[in-house]
């Protein structure tokens, strides 16, 4: 290549082509095999979508597994008795100490229906479970209107429900009549009994006694 003659020679395109500077990047190693030459390329969109779907499925499966594990519950039932050793015939739990209180101190007459407010207390007591101060049994022997009444309330833990019933009147040798009216309490094992002795020659006030007996559970055993 020589310097062009700016002054005298006319422009020759072919000569100019020959004289032009070539800017093509030469192949650095034309003889190198194509396999060895790395080339960069983007991940195809379809593969990205497939990966996302697979990850979504994996996340869903993981969530399902977590939920399944968390919601798997093992349920066991244990029966725990408040009085595991049982209850005596009187209603006192075996492992507890039951102590009596005198009827007058326990205010037993105050628990009776108003109809018996004027009755005279002959004898009575209250048996208390000292472990929890619950009333096990009450007994009051009263006289009212020439009748003699024994009012008993008791709760025996674990006992079955007591049926409501009235016994047939029985006549004693002295001509008096005796009958009992039993009423269940709200809790199984709780009941009250009204045992009445009617003197000879006096009619048995059956309806009045039944009304009285019906009132007793609420006052003696249901509020325990």
């Amino acid at each position: 290549m020589s310097d062009p003659d700016w002054t005298g020679e006319p422009y020759d395109p072919e000569a100019a082509e020959d004289e032009a500077i070539r800017l093509d990047v030469p192949d650095p190693a034309p003889d190198r095999p194509a396999l060895d030459r790395p080339s960069a390329n983007g991940i195809a969109l379809r593969w990205c979508a497939l990966l996302a779907v697979l990850a979504l499925a994996a996340a869903g499966a993981g969530g399902f597994l977590l939920d399944a594990r968390r919601s798997r519950t093992v349920t066991s039932t244990v029966v725990g008795y408040q009085h595991p050793h049982g209850v005596a015939l009187t209603g006192c739990p075996w492992e507890d100490v039951c102590e009596p209180l005198p009827g007058s101190e326990a205010g037993l007459t105050g628990m009776l229906p108003p109809e018996l407010a004027g009755a005279k207390l002959l004898a009575g007591n209250l048996m208390l479970d000292s472990s929890d101060s619950s009333t096990i049994r009450t007994l009051q022997v009263l006289t009212a209107d020439r009748l003699t009444l024994a009012v008993t309330g008791q709760c025996v833990a674990g006992a079955a429900a007591v049926p409501s019933r009235d016994t047939e009147p029985t006549r004693a040798a002295d001509g008096s009549t005796e009958l009992a009216l039993v009423r269940p309490g709200q809790q199984p094992g709780c009941s009250v009994a009204l045992v009445v002795r009617v003197p000879d020659g006096q009619p048995v006030p059956t309806d009045r006694l039944r009304r009285l007996a019906d009132e007793l559970p609420q006052r003696l055993v249901d509020n325990n």
Partner: protein
């Protein structure tokens, strides 16, 4: 054949977004599986608080729930005799027996007696048919006390409670209420408790 290495910079924006989402989901899935495998199952324990084992009992009148009973004025002769022997000066205020209407078997005998000034005795003898249990004997005393000037405790009123087992399923329960220590009645109280005749079934 040419090796085409994946290039982040050469991936389209939409592809990058999808890859980022996939990575986040993969991390979440790994975490969920890891936690799930380490999470023990939930244990739920239900405790049923029953009051007591099933108990056979008499009702408040002394009658078994399944029986047909009558109440009679008076006590079985042997119980009446036992009370009179223990407390000759006593006076019965109440006496009643609960018996089976068919067989006349006695289920309960109950008595209240006045023993002297301010002293009383309540006796309940019971038998539960078919029961083989024998309740343990119990004896306890409680007193209403005051302190005197010397600091001594003086009993004003004493309650003595005694429960004595008899034949299987039978027992006698007595409550003695007496002024002061009730010393005058202790001998009779002890004797009555030891007397098998005071039980419904000897």
């Amino acid at each position: 054949m040419r090796i085409r290495l994946p290039s982040w910079s050469a991936t389209s924006p939409a592809g990058r977004l999808l890859l980022a989402v996939a990575a986040i989901l993969a991390v979440l899935a790994t975490g969920a599986v890891s936690v799930a495998l380490r999470t023990p199952p939930t244990r739920v324990t239900h405790t049923i608080a029953a009051i007591a084992p099933p108990t056979a009992a008499l009702d408040a009148a002394g009658c078994p729930p399944a029986a047909h009973c009558l109440v009679r004025s008076g006590l079985p002769d042997h119980i009446l005799l036992a009370i009179r022997q223990a407390f000759p000066a006593g006076r019965l205020l109440w006496q009643s027996s609960t018996v089976d209407a068919g067989s006349a078997q006695v289920y309960q005998a109950q008595a209240a007696a006045t023993l002297g000034p301010g002293a009383s005795l309540v006796l309940t003898a019971q038998c539960l048919p078919g029961s083989a249990t024998r309740d343990p004997d119990v004896e306890d005393t409680s007193a209403d006390q005051r302190s005197d000037l010397a600091g001594n405790h003086v009993a004003l009123f004493t309650l003595r409670h005694r429960r004595v087992g008899g034949a299987p399923g039978c027992q006698l329960e007595m409550v003695l209420a007496a002024p002061e220590q009730g010393s005058d009645y202790l001998a009779g109280f002890g004797r009555l408790g030891r007397d098998p005749a005071a039980q419904v079934h000897r």
